[in-house]
């Protein structure tokens, strides 16, 4: 492919660009003079265009096609051609190899059927189990039918996860034999890899929602594909409701909703009984086993089950579902130890155990695709691998070779309680649909087995049918702000598939009202409109926007970026003490936010001196990956701030108010996340207005017991913790958020009396000042 890049490609690319951008008239004039063509027909502009590209000796088969009237045969012909129909370049060798495997996918057999249905309807529901190839193939089928160069409109395909959007875009770029970021691109939060030639765009569902805020009718797109709709993420749910509205306004917009599970009837009836097309996946039967009695300890039982499988079942890899990082690491350790014993005692085969969870570094995540180990000696028992995973292996990640699935029946789920305003991750029983999905993972390569660590009766009676969609389990402040910006005023009758509880909606409105993003009548304010421009939580966005008032917008920008990436601190189990010592170097006595800032400044300082940053981070127990992504986020946010003329200023470091300003600026956004100490010599804090009893998370650097702290997040584990805290003064609360801290609105209690004492103090001090003058 590299051979052709130099000369032949450039002119043809140029042609395509003009073709996409303009509406043909100008081009056709040029062509007219060039070819002396007398019968000019604007509707055939693209064929004229084609004649000009003949200069390269290439005539794209696509130019003959009629939009929305293509057949599978025409397309396979176009794909089989010597040259790439999109770029005009000759195909690479690899292309045909991939093409062959693409033709083997189950989806390919139904290509004509898909096209027929697609032509006949505006909205289409497509059901294909994992492994059917829908995510990579359907958008390409649409691409060959929409012929974007004729309309200048794009095709969007949404994914719930960033990683999926990136990797699928890469894969499809390879399949189409184009460069990622040109014809095929992706767009995720804080990263956009698309160009002027992009025709097919993979993106996160949240990203498409953000785009819709500026383009209410999504006029850039001719077809929108919502993939993995069965996961029912918050953004997908909103998009579905929105697209339902837009589809009524824009009859030329096509919508495909793709789901991997068989509850697609719900989607169908939601979209006015849209036609449904189902493609069978490539799955094998899975035998399901239950325990006769409920298990007392599911972790213990799952470890034993894995060992049992290893000892008694034939070759095949094991997938065990557990709930969280700690539990997974613990189970991995226990399994490896036991397997070592088994090898010594009973000549068992080797087994490699891999953990898998979201916060694992990508290099380690990649290890799950390693081959199972070889037998210890020739003719010995076969080796296998065991993957212990959170529910990311349930739908999003597909690991081939899994034959045995162990399902204890739990997962961590986010739940939001609008009364206490606490969003927590709780271990809860999974749903029946989820259990079936897990079992299905065993049948990817050959017939498999699924061991459920609960009784059949429990499966039938205790598990709910479907997992609650995210919209019912989330804080909606951000969503409501986006909806307001999208022009949705009637939040009551907004046609969501599963509308949230009224209380949750009310809470979101009130939160935005306190943040001054909405006025008392619920109208979007200027601040709210500005805040919605930031891909951040409203509170954080407001904090960032108001930071120039506190003369520290540069610093707040850094802190915001650091808070929007996973924790930068590394604390390996075998070097906890060293890690803590290193963290203490950056510690600021007043709080964790400032400590984060110190670490970032040290990082940037070392970078400027030309230090090897990976090494430096390793030495200081900091995550290079997360620090660099924070750096990237910072650059993105900075650009947004600059486009909206938000000043970037700093207090001089020598100024004694340097840190005070930052602490005050934190309150401009986080004034609703403040806790007061219960009593002196107590470690327990009480959150303001929500009255939750919390402790400061042990990861803090704060050592002195401050009376008032602002916190970044509420963590509910065995205890209730607040994480990332910074000391503040109550006077600031009254000054910065007078509406929220109106003493009269508080319920009787310690916090109220403390606040009224502070009010009194402030009043007296002002009186003294006044009399002194």
């Amino acid at each position: 492919m590299t051979d052709y890049n130099s000369e032949s490609s450039d002119p043809s690319k140029g042609v395509k660009r003009t073709n996409m951008g303009e509406d043909g008239t100008k081009d056709s004039k040029r062509i007219k003079t060039a070819n002396g063509d007398e019968q000019y027909n604007p509707y055939l502009a693209h064929t004229y265009e084609d004649s000009s590209s003949q200069q390269n000796g290439f005539k794209s088969p696509l130019d003959q096609l009629e939009r929305h009237n293509t057949t599978a045969l025409q397309m396979t012909k176009a794909e089989d051609g010597e040259r790439n129909p999109w770029t005009g370049e000759p195909h690479s060798q690899q292309y045909f190899k991939i093409l062959q495997s693409r033709r083997d996918l189950p989806v390919h057999k139904q290509r004509q059927e898909f096209l027929d249905t697609y032509h006949s309807t505006q909205i289409l529901v497509f059901v294909g189990e994992t492994g059917s190839g829908k995510t990579t193939q359907i958008p390409q089928y649409v691409l060959f039918d929409e012929l974007p160069f004729q309309t200048g409109k794009l095709i969007a395909c949404t994914q719930p996860r960033r990683v999926a959007a990136m990797s699928v875009a890469q894969r499809v770029a390879n399949e189409l034999d184009v460069k990622l970021g040109e014809e095929v691109g992706y767009s995720i939060r804080f990263e956009n890899k698309t160009g002027p030639k992009t025709m097919l765009k993979y993106m996160t569902d949240g990203q498409l929602l953000r785009e819709a805020m500026h383009d209410h009718d999504m006029t850039r797109y001719s077809c929108i594909i919502l993939d993995e709709a069965h996961e029912r993420t918050l953004a997908t749910d909103i998009l579905m409701a929105l697209l339902k509205q837009i589809a009524a306004r824009r009859k030329d917009l096509k919508i495909i909703v793709m789901s991997a599970t068989l509850d697609a009837q719900k989607f169908q009836s939601y979209f006015y009984n849209a036609p449904l097309l189902a493609v069978p996946g490539r799955t094998h039967p899975v035998e399901i086993f239950y325990t006769p009695e409920p298990e007392r300890d599911y972790v213990e039982a799952s470890v034993r089950t894995v060992l049992q499988i290893h000892a008694t079942e034939p070759e095949g890899d094991i997938l065990l579902f557990l709930t969280g990082e700690e539990e997974i690491e613990d189970a991995c350790r226990r399994i490896s130890l036991e397997v070592d014993d088994m090898i010594r005692e009973s000549d068992a085969g080797p087994m490699r155990v891999y953990p898998l969870y979201g916060t694992l570094p990508p290099a380690q995540q990649q290890r799950i695709f390693d081959k199972a180990p070889e037998p210890l000696r020739k003719g010995g028992r076969p080796g296998r691998k065991c993957i212990v995973s959170t529910n990311i292996a349930e739908t999003s990640l597909t690991i081939d070779g899994i034959v045995y699935v162990v399902d204890p029946g739990f997962s961590k789920q986010k739940i939001y309680n609008p009364r206490s305003r606490v969003e927590s991750l709780l271990v809860s029983p999974i749903s029946k649909a989820s259990a079936q999905q897990r079992a299905g993972r065993a049948g990817r390569t050959r017939p498999g087995k699924c061991f459920r660590l609960y009784t059949e009766k429990a499966f039938k009676k205790e598990l709910i049918e479907q997992t609650y969609p995210e919209i019912l389990r989330s804080n909606l402040a951000n969503t409501v702000l986006e909806l307001k910006k999208l022009g949705v005023e009637d939040l009551v009758h907004f046609d969501l598939m599963d509308p949230p509880a009224p209380e949750t909606m009310m809470r979101a409105l009130e939160e935005l009202n306190y943040l001054a993003c909405l006025d008392d009548d619920g109208e979007l304010t200027k601040l709210g409109s500005l805040a919605s421009e930031f891909p951040l939580d409203p509170a954080v966005a407001v904090m960032l926007i108001s930071s120039p008032e506190f003369y520290c917008s540069n610093e707040m920008l850094s802190i915001t970026s650091l808070l929007s990436v996973p924790s930068i601190w590394i604390r390996p189990n075998n070097a906890r003490k060293r890690a803590d010592e290193m963290k203490a170097q950056f510690a600021h006595p007043d709080g964790d936010h400032l400590t984060l800032l110190n670490a970032y400044h040290a990082f940037k300082g070392a970078e400027q001196q030309g230090t090897d940053m990976k090494q430096w981070c390793h030495e200081h127990f900091l995550s290079f990956r997360h620090l660099s992504s924070a750096d990237n986020v910072r650059a993105q946010l900075k650009r947004i701030m600059e486009t909206h003329d938000i000043e970037l200023i700093s207090t001089p470091f020598q100024d004694k108010n340097y840190y005070i300003n930052i602490r005050r600026a934190l309150l401009a956004g986080f004034f609703m996340q403040v806790a007061m100490r219960e009593s002196s010599n107590s470690k327990v804090y009480k959150t303001v207005k929500d009255d939750q009893l919390v402790m400061i998370h042990p990861s803090t650097v704060v050592t002195s017991p401050y009376d008032w702290v602002v916190y970044n997040e509420f963590v509910l584990t065995t205890k209730q913790y607040v994480r990332t805290v910074t000391n503040i003064r109550p006077e600031w609360l009254l000054e910065i958020a007078p509406v929220y801290y109106d003493v009269d609105t508080f319920e009787k209690g310690e916090i109220k009396s403390a606040l009224s004492r502070v009010t009194e103090k402030v009043r007296r001090r002002q009186a003294i000042k006044g009399s002194g003058r």
């Binding site: 409920p294 298990e295 007392r296 300890d297 599911y298 972790v299 213990e300 039982a301 204890p408 029946g409 739990f410 789920q413 739940i415 939001y416 309680n417 609008p418 009364r419 927590s424 709780l426 271990v427 809860s428 029983p429 660590l453 609960y454 009784t455 009766k457 429990a458 205790e462 598990l463 609650y468 019912l472 389990r473 005023e489 009637d490 939040l491 009551v492 009758h493 907004f494 046609d495 969501l496 599963d498 509308p499 949230p500 509880a501 009224p502 209380e503 949750t504 909606m505 009310m506 809470r507 979101a508 409105l509 009130e510 009202n513 008392d520 009548d521 619920g522 509910l716 065995t718």
Partner: protein
Amino acid sequence: MDTPAGSQVDVDVNVDVDADDDYDEVPLQHKRPFGSGLHRKTVAFVPASDGDGCLNSTDQVTAPKTQQVDVADLYLSMVLPKDNKTTKNAVNVGEPGAVICEVCRLPLESEPASAGSSDVDNTTTATSKTDGKKVHEKSFAHQVCLPHSYPPSALDRSRMGLSYLSQYGWDPDARKGLGAAEQGITFPIKATPKYSNLGVGVHVPKNLPPPKEKKERLLDAGKVRKQARKDKHKAEIIRQQLFGNQDLEKYLGQGAVR
């Protein structure tokens, strides 16, 4: 009746009857606050000549009910509009022609109370009919058939979020959710934190006695000494196993290395 002697008794009886009536008939909002009449002079009563005191007193109570001048009445009529309607309907049905109650679809005639009252006098059939209706309305079968009315929602009415939602037609007391057909969930999803490793389907009975704490055994001096000797011996064996030199022992004989 003997007035001078029995006056005291009379008053007592009347108070009793009144109290009973209050309990049965007077709605809460019409009740006088307790003790409001204590300082006034008590009014003496005599039982009605009809012999049916109950009827009169209920009529007196129902008279102001129809006027609805009280704020509480107004409120109740707003909160429980259906209830009022059903009683009105029932009164309409109570005309001589209709004999079937509209609410519970049961005949009104076969009430034992109405039969009893008709025994007293033939001329008071109209009053006895309304009375029968009342008894019927009190009957269990009728009560069960009444549409259930819910208390108003506990949401704080001054909340900004509520006013926004009600601006778009959401009624907090209607027990409806959001959505195109107001089909959404009405209450947020609850979850209980799980602190144990108990598997799915394991239910620990709530009133389980707390696990018994193991009592620490106290050791006397002899036991301590015995334990120390044991430990020392164990350590010696381990030491010998780890660091002992067999050749040296052979040469020097057992015990010499120690």
